[in-house]
Amino acid sequence: MTHLVVVGASLAGLRAVEAVRRDGFDGEVTLVGAEEHLPYDRPPLSKEYLAAEECPDPRYREEETFAGDLDVALLLGTPASALDTAGRTIAVGDRTLSWDGLVIATGAHARTLPGTEHLEGVHTVRTLDDAVALRAALRGGARRLTVVGAGFIGSEVGAVGRKLGLEVTILEALETPLARAVGERMGRALTHLHRRHGTEVRTGVAVEEVLSSDGRVTGVRLGDGTEVDTDVLVVGIGASPATDWLDGSGLTIDDGVVADETLAAADGVYVAGDVARWPNALFSDVAGGTMRLEHWTSAADQGGRAARHAVDPAAAKPYETVPYFWSDWYDGRVQFVGIAPEGADEQIEVVAGDDAQGGPFTAIYRAGDRIVGALAVDMPAEVMKYRRLIGGRKTWADALELAEQRRVQRAQKQAAKERGEGA
């Protein structure tokens, strides 16, 4: 192995180049990125970056780190446009790069509402440039914010809007927001969080038309004919994996680049992050097939794995993981570990707190005889304890036992606190 090429200069790509250098790989390493920016952290873009008075710098590393410590050649500002797996080359602008090992970490692009891309006041939140524009729009005297899509990113932006004092309406096509991510019942519980903070959430509504005047958004018309006036419209309807550039490469593309359990998509080609679809062996008995995650933790993890496999395919091992994501709403935190099996409602047990008013609470998810997931709202001490059980393929009975232990521990702590305060 002499030349490792990593395509996609974000979280997964950064972790890829760092992992092999940490292992002592002494070949050439090139990191190719479509954006002009050095790799930066995306989660803050829908959170602190919009809310904080002072704009935080989301870059992970300084430019000198790449040239110096890491000895990585950066090729930023031009996307890779083609892959030849037989000849082991990629095209970047008018250059052709040869590789011995390749990591594909091109992530995902925000979906847009067709025809609205050039309207002033319409925003998506995926890139730093998106966040700079949205930050200015939210702070530039806007009074009303409308968010299309009650997913995690749309919800976070809505929450920031409230914090900044805007009137916020979230429009969701599904009857229950986030039903696919956390199940119907928990989707309803999370919707309470919005309502509790004065955000209007309208579910089961279709956006028929985006209204504008002089090239600027003024509102949306819904399927039932009602109109919602707005100054800023945020489109949060998910992301599509960035696979266009792989047309004709011969790789299997199916909502992501499909790989085997070692993250290999072809000889010498490995995938990582939001673009990667692979069979997660940890859940093969309860949820067959492949999964694609759009979570910080798995992107970081897979980046390192994919690159290690790319430089030493003979040592490649199956990659399995307990998915984890968090999302910050208002002053609280939503955390989820594992998977929410289909038809999850009958399989959920609320083991702490109360979901009726949107928390704080912790709920655990079952599939067959196993615990496979856990959701917590404003109970930061809970989910990671279940994450270990899920990763260890523990039973539902084990999970209920932990839940009982935790209940006792919390009660003891509470009692001690009350005694302390009484003294």
């Binding site: 972790r15 989660p43 992970y60 910080w296 933790t297 970081a300 993890d301 390192g304 307990v322 984890y324 968090w326 935190r333 955390q335 570990v337 109970m379 930061p380 001490a381 989910v383 990671m384 304890k385 994450r387 270990r388 990763g391 919390r410 702590k413």
Partner: protein, 67 residues
């Protein structure tokens, strides 16, 4: 070997706890409790994983491993 926590960065995310529960624990209020600062050789593997997994890059290691 010692664990350093950058307390300004840590947001109580708990990835570290799920990988090395003997060393890290997130408290009910979301603050991180370090059960030990000096780590032993047999804890090194999982602590390194925890350092890599922290979403805020709040953890780092320095110094030699004590036998």
């Amino acid at each position: 070997m010692r664990i350093n926590v950058d307390w300004d960065r840590c947001t109580g995310m708990g990835m570290c706890e799920s990988l090395a529960p003997d060393v890290f624990e997130v408290d009910d209020d979301g603050s991180l409790i370090l059960h030990t600062e000096e780590i032993s050789a047999d804890q090194e593997g999982e602590v390194r994983e925890a350092v890599a997994a922290c979403p805020t890059e709040a953890l780092s290691l320095d110094g030699p491993i004590d036998a």
